[in-house]
Symmetry: D2
Subunit: 350 residues, 4 copies
């Protein structure tokens, strides 16, 4: 009953096998090897973006911070939701990598940025001449931190708005595979065709050991990205070991299969939760995360029985037994039906 | 005949096996897993440093830059050799991570910093009050970029000098294992007992896929290091996959065995080179790197025959055939006798 | 009828005279001159703070950014009101000088930070371990950007709260003189006795050409401040010309006299405004700034008649004539009764 | 006998008078005032550069650091002489403002950068791909820190070389007036016609209280400069007081008259020094600075007699009486014949 995160589970066996396969002979270092070329080609193909600049890094925060730095001047401000990972969970890495840019927070609605709120925030900046920060890029998370996904139309509305102000749009796609598996369409539809300028294409949360691709659909700043990556100490010497993971991820559709499995598990979990009279779902469980609230007493029982998940709001030990506390539950490609069944059974018996 | 670098070869099979073994079940992320605790314990044990702060990162540049940033204020200057990796090969990562500190270059002598030259450079700074940069940490590379190693006494002379000015000393130990295997003594002798305050303990160049340990012998700034690591986007979520490599590295002395093998190969290579009348060795080949010069024509033949190494100074295509050009040759744990024999035979036949 | 700002008017004639007096002979540069020593002594005396570190700079933003940088690590967040000058009007200078810290915004109440809201924001940070930014200093503006002033008790409540979390408190006192002249008590009462750790002590908005003092009541980081000031290019070579202004400011109570005059003018203006049936005051005009709203048509008449002030919210040219628009009116030491009378007469006749 | 520096003396009385004149009435702040427009126009006219971007700051370090930051990416390196003010005397302000760029030192020859040495340094960088820093701007000081001046041809040789590598050239002209008064030609000849892209046009060392103009001959990055200036806290609110100084400086040729006076004084001083048998001049005293060496005993006598100057190398109290020690002597517009006569008489009598 492991629902704590999609980074606590194992990598997919095929990925490990690919690492072992890659561990043969001598190849050029620092990304000049054939596997890296293959990974780049596969991503360009998957996104129908033959000119895109593609660079691998090992953490999602690196992909986000480096891409944002490539889109943002130090005197600009990044527009993001108030629950964005780049704001809450990266210890100010974007501020560090941009050289001290600001983040302007847009209050989220189900994890998403709404165009009307974004417009208000954009118009609220750069109206004091040289005195205030200047408007910079917009970043959206897909799937969102709340487990919802933007439709293509929702994305297009945001990018259209941003582009109207000459602002580029970045997508934090640490769970892009989950969003795509759920939302349908092609990778291109969900990114550059919807106006996305740069994408952090996640792999770590979806079955890899630790690889993300930073994709710039406009390659004009590709070399700048490489310099920023090196300077940020994110260029791997034995680069084939990043590339091998990404190749295994994309070949044979493994990435979408894993994401679909995780989503299906989450859907089953959410369905079960929604049937319980004391459980309230906070957001549509569009992808592989579900937020739900139920009474403290029930949490106590589930956690005591070995369920592994995070309380998102509220303290287990402090308050009345019937007060609802919010939990976040995350499914991975390896979540099993029996885990879910056991969890739901415990819940029902609670 | 692969002598281009110690980052172009494969990882040791035991390391791959350790990754596979680690790929079981759910464990806490971000370094809270048992394997990370085990890696930390093994490093503390190896260095006889039970209180040392130990943190894993994936690149040597990250270890160097983060440790230097923890030792250096933005208005200080780092003293390093003029061929130091931190100066030449990190795209100014130390400047980035320190927030804009300077590097003051000490002309190297066989890759090493000599105390007299270091003293002159230290005394040359911080003599203009608030106007010039202030003195900051000293960093030495062990084994050096030229393939030599500092004796314990040489290290002690440097650290004594630095500490006399209240300056901490960092060691870039990307090839620490090679230095130790060659230089003898214990890890503690070569580090904190010789006055080293912080160590980048390399693994990547010596058989791992990509792991280095940042070791602070004084743990006072351990939490600061963690914040810097996270903010630099170097904290791995699936941290067990870094830890597993490091555990395999240290268990059963694999690290020293690999280093000893690489060193032995390099010694054989250097011996053979030194016997050739047209070859001149530039520095003592103390560890796993040899710099040597021989005529352009001979280079041409060797490279044409498939030898893989870097010309360090000079252009293959531009100059007289008998002009000596410098090559750098690097051996790894996987360098074979037959590679060396074949290379030396080609050289002899040239 | 000049109410646009307190930085559009002239400096006090005594200050110009002091500059001329200072322009004699050769003195050491970079703050080693007797006038600088005199300025420091006068500030220490005025604040009953014999050990305080005092450094002069030429802009309020420099004082704020340098002091905040001395109180804040790059991975921390500064707590300030959402209308704070450091947030809205410094083009992210605090982010630049701190090396990329965040600002966490506390919704203001009449320009002030309320302890309950501050507590909520403080508790909202540093609850995600290494993943989120760490709590950093609190900064308050006195007088506030809305023209109100904190009572000593209000300040003490904030500093007590902050200190309870081990957070230092900075005061942006660009209009400190106005606050003190209005609020009573001593400079010490309004700063360190109320728990303030560092103060930007303004002069520019109150009759100087351009000088602010950065005061650290705890001098432990005095040298660090000097290095930051130099590195930020804010150390004047001909430092006597900063010091001369500050000496003239403090001698004979000129600073408080000018502030009292400005406050009295503003009080008269606010009184007049409040008597007009179509005018609504937004905040108590505690110091030298008044925010008030009246119909667009009246604005049109006043501005056409030569009144000089800023519309703070709303567009003159776009909307119904009777829609109230907010103006900010600022008085200086040189605001005359006749200006105010004329303005109020025009308003009454509108 | 004040030869310590050109920043220890008074400002020119006309400059003080201009400040007093400017202290009338209300004008827009932050550089929107008529005097600032006038200063800009006068500089453009003086340099025959009608499109140049001109911005005032209060310190030379600010002009240098902001201009370099506008010409340099964080991953680049600035080429400067090893005695450049930007390297030795700005506490790493260029590193701070550029966001962590490097400085690559070119060994000076009489204070100047020689093209051959510059070429070697340029070719020594950016030859390691992404691993090393990239080549950035070249900066020269005119007059140099050693009191020499570049001829127009020497400047053209440097800028031609730099432009051949697509590198822009900045001139630190903190003593530009002295260089021009001595070197002849027009301001345009000595700057953009000789290939200079950006100039720190000094005023502080030549009779102002504290004003420098940052001149970008290509105005493409003018707005960026304004944002950097504001963010660096160098935008003055009461901007007229900077502008008034600069206007007085340029009107009626005051700047060149003051520089010519300082240069003439220095020439007389150097002439006298050169006639003394125990004095050796180190560099041609082209402008207003002379470096000379004479015996310790003579220094002792002169300093005891009240001469005010800096020993540049050597300690007064430690060594034999006849050992020559180097002094730096600087003349200002206000240096008098009698000072020089008295100094030379003391020297002769020594």
């Amino acid at each position: 009953m492991f629902f704590a995160s999609d980074n606590t589970g194992p990598a997919h066996p095929k990925v490990l096998a690919a690492l072992a396969d890659a561990n043969e002979g001598h190849v050029p270092s620092y990304g000049e090897d054939p596997l890296t070329a293959r990974a780049t080609a596969l991503i360009r193909e998957a996104f129908d973006a033959p000119d895109a600049a593609v660079h691998l890094v090992a953490t999602g925060t690196a992909a986000n911070a480096l891409l944002l730095a490539s889109l943002c001047q130090p005197w600009q401000t990044v527009f993001c939701s108030d629950v964005a990972h780049v704001h809450q969970d990266e210890c100010a890495a974007p501020e560090f990598y941009t050289g001290g840019a600001k983040l302007t927070l847009v209050p989220h609605d189900g994890g998403k940025i709404r165009p009307d709120r974004l417009r208000a925030r954009i118009e609220g900046e750069e109206n004091r001449g040289v005195h205030g920060p200047q408007r910079g890029p917009v970043t959206v998370t897909q799937a969102t931190e709340k487990g919802t996904i933007y439709t293509h139309a929702e994305l297009a509305a945001i990018t259209q708005l941003a582009h109207g102000f000459d602002l580029p749009v970045h997508m934090d796609g640490s769970r892009f595979a989950n969003a795509l598996a759920a939302g349908g369409g092609t990778p291109a539809d969900m990114t550059w065709r919807a106006g996305i300028d740069a994408l952090s294409f996640g792999g770590t949360k979806n079955g890899l050991l630790g690889v993300e691709a930073a994709v710039q659909f406009d390659p004009a700043r590709s070399w700048e990205f490489e310099l920023r990556r090196k300077r940020g100490a994110h260029l791997f010497s034995k680069h084939r070991f990043l590339a091998a993971q990404m190749v295994a991820y994309l070949e044979d559709g493994l990435w979408l299969q894993m994401a679909a499995d995780a989503n299906a598990a989450c859907a089953a979990l959410a369905r079960g939760l929604s049937r319980h009279p004391d459980v309230r779902l906070l957001y549509p469980a569009d992808a592989n995360i579900v937020f739900a609230a139920w009474p403290r007493g029930l949490h106590r029982q589930l956690l005591a029985a070995g369920a592994d998940y995070h309380l998102w709001e509220g303290e287990l030990d402090d308050g009345p037994e019937d007060e609802p506390l919010t939990a976040r539950l995350v499914c991975g490609f390896d979540t099993t039906d029996s885990e879910i069944d056991r969890f739901l059974a415990l819940l029902a018996a609670g």
